[in-house]
């Protein structure tokens, strides 16, 4: 059943369209979850209870608060019905476009990240717990017995560079919003954002060069494959084990890129109102906030993929667990795929949690401290890390 339309294989088209939709929805739902955890997690940290009053009334005097999720919906509705305030700017087009410069890159860059390994639908649906799906198992077994795809929307062989190219667009959102808002506070926020991005992108890139040298690759798929191998027969070749210093440098730089709390100079409320989105109201402001939350998820995904082996579970191969002490547990293909997806999600959730925890634990840097950390501490450390990595790789590596 190899039909094609405009040179595109139909099955591939629908598969990847479904994947793209699923990952897009994943990012959006995670954004919603982050805006929920911003309230609830901070409340738990500060010995409060958090949002629990916004609720849907039910009969018999009950309320359906859903642990505060209804509050998110109330937020969205409120922002939708608010007045659409437009400042007197010279360039309305750029003013309105800036939101999407901030919003789209974070979602787009996830396209090259693998969420799990190779999926073979014909084998996948043979698992006993997936047999209940009505017609898919028979369809794949009869028509496409050899069809397999990677759980990754776009298989680019320049994946890492693509992520940085797209992620770099992100700051244009802040700069353009700051410039086009016709407001001095916005302008300051935009400039701070640009300065911060330059001073941290350098050490971020240098830290990642270590990863590229160790694995000799910029393709995200191959990076994750290389990380799921074992060093000395027992240690997973995760980035955190091979490049520990680079992980910490990347982590700091990523939080700074993210414009989150210890580094939230661009939107420092106590200094410049709301930074670059001071002049945005209603749903536009909500989109900026949402972009920020999605960026947290994006940073968590990057940390997972580059330093914690992406979807890889230690000692899990295609047919089950092979422990270094000799034992094996045979698993079906479906179980392996589900374990890989779960592993990826758990790692991403952990980093989202950690980033939120840091955001609610730490005070803001002073601006000169920020620059000092970026240029005088992280950059030299990144260069030292790179030199050591190059020497190790030149001497034969792992």
């Amino acid at each position: 059943m190899e039909s094609s339309f405009l040179g595109i294989n139909t099955v591939h088209f629908w598969t990847y369209l479904f994947l793209a939709g699923a990952i897009f929805m994943f990012m959006f739902l995670m954004g919603a979850v982050m805006s929920w955890s911003e309230r609830k997690q901070s409340a738990q940290i500060q010995d409060r209870l958090g949002a629990n009053r916004a609720a849907i009334p039910l009969p018999f005097g009950k309320k359906f608060a859903m642990l505060g999720f209804i509050n998110n919906m109330a937020d969205a509705i409120k922002c939708l019905v608010k007045e659409n305030f437009n400042p007197k700017t010279e360039n309305k087009v750029i003013y309105n476009m800036a939101i999407f410069f901030a919003f789209i890159p974070a979602v787009l860059a996830v396209a090259v990240v693998p969420f799990a390994g190779v999926v073979k639908p014909a084998v996948l649906f043979q698992a006993w717990y997936l047999k209940w799906i009505p017609w898919l198992p028979e369809y794949f077994a009869n028509n496409l017995p050899d069809f397999s795809f990677r759980l990754q929307v776009a298989n680019l062989n320049v994946g890492l560079l693509f992520i940085f190219a797209v992620g770099g667009i992100n700051v244009f959102g802040a700069i353009l919003a700051g410039w086009s808002s016709n407001n001095k506070f916005s302008m300051m926020g935009g400039m701070r954002s640009a300065a911060q991005m330059i001073s941290y992108e350098v050490s971020m890139g240098l830290a990642l060069l270590g990863i590229i040298f160790i694995y000799q690759n910029v393709d995200i798929w191959n990076l994750v494959q290389a990380q799921s191998e074992l060093a000395w027969g027992w240690l997973p070749k995760w980035g955190i084990f091979l490049q520990p210093l680079a992980f910490f440098l990347f982590f700091a730089a990523a939080v700074a890129e993210n414009k989150r709390m210890p580094f939230d100079m661009p939107e420092a409320e106590s200094e410049i109102i709301s930074g670059y989105f001071t002049e945005y109201s209603g749903f536009k402001m909500l989109l900026f906030m949402f972009a920020e939350f999605i960026e947290i998820v994006f940073v968590a995904i990057m940390l997972t993929t580059l330093f914690f082996g992406g979807y890889s579970v230690p000692w899990l191969l295609g047919n089950g667990f092979h422990f270094p002490w000799g034992g094996t547990i045979a698993l079906s293909h479906a179980s392996v795929v589900i374990l890989q997806i779960l592993s990826f999600q758990i790692k991403v959730f952990f980093f989202c949690w950690l980033l939120q925890q840091m955001r609610w634990s730490l005070p803001r840097f002073r601006y000169d401290q920020l620059m000092h950390l970026g240029w005088k501490i992280l950059l030299p450390l990144a260069i030292i890390n790179l030199i050591i990595t190059i020497i190790i790789v030149a001497l034969g590596g792992f």
């Binding site: 997690q41 409340a43 738990q44 940290i45 500060q46 010995d47 409060r48 209870l49 629990n52 009053r53 609720a55 039910l58 005097g61 009950k62 309320k63 359906f64 608060a65 859903m66 642990l67 910490f248 700091a252 210890p262 950690l354 925890q357 840091m358 609610w360 634990s361 730490l362 000092h372 950390l373 501490i377």
Partner: protein
């Protein structure tokens, strides 16, 4: 280089301690800070997952603090005479002294010629009241008092926050019909 203030000892008034490289690197400090908040987070999460109230908050309309001070200025009440009439003589001193101007009094003639006046309307807009207690101090006949508790001083509607004479004469706290119940913590 530093400017020497005459009469003060020559010392650094700004804490410019030398910080070690580890401290300046900030990672250990982050780990220490995050460790404290993580302890709080998981303690409260554990309480919540064992169906207890995490955190140390009072969910106000449903719960009130048991350790309220007896001197606290809470709900207003009108003191009654033995025949059930308010003790108030409608002199309007409380309405005059009220900085928030939340007391409305309309007087009428009392049946008792010794008292002369009694309030026909006595309303306190609790949503405007600042609970300063001036009305209690101004009253010449000790007709208005304040309870220590603040039970059920809530309402979804601002008109429900205007307490009339009958409400104020009732010593028991009034239960509003629109108190949030069945919330999900």
């Amino acid at each position: 280089m530093s400017y020497q203030i005459p009469g003060l000892p020559d010392m650094e008034y700004v804490d410019r301690r030398k910080r070690s490289f580890i401290v300046q690197l900030y990672y250990r400090e982050i780990a220490r800070g995050v460790w404290i908040t993580t302890k709080h987070f998981f303690r409260n999460l554990w309480k919540w997952s064992t169906f207890r109230k995490g955190g140390c908050v009072v969910l106000y309309p449903e719960e009130t603090r048991p350790d309220m001070s007896p001197n606290n200025r809470g709900r207003h009440v009108l003191v009654q005479r033995s025949n059930g009439e308010p003790r108030c003589v409608a002199c309007k001193m409380c309405a005059t002294v009220c900085p928030a101007e939340c007391i409305t009094i309309e007087a009428e003639e009392s049946a008792d010629s010794n008292i002369q006046k009694k309030p026909k309307v006595f309303e306190i807009d609790v949503s405007r009241c600042i609970f300063c207690g001036f009305c209690v101090e101004a009253c010449p006949v000790d007709a208005i008092r304040m309870l220590a508790t603040t039970e059920n001083l809530v309402g979804y509607n601002r008109f429900k926050m205007i307490y009339d004479k009958e409400t104020l004469l009732n010593w028991n706290p009034v239960v509003n019909d629109d108190v949030v119940n069945g919330y999900n913590p």
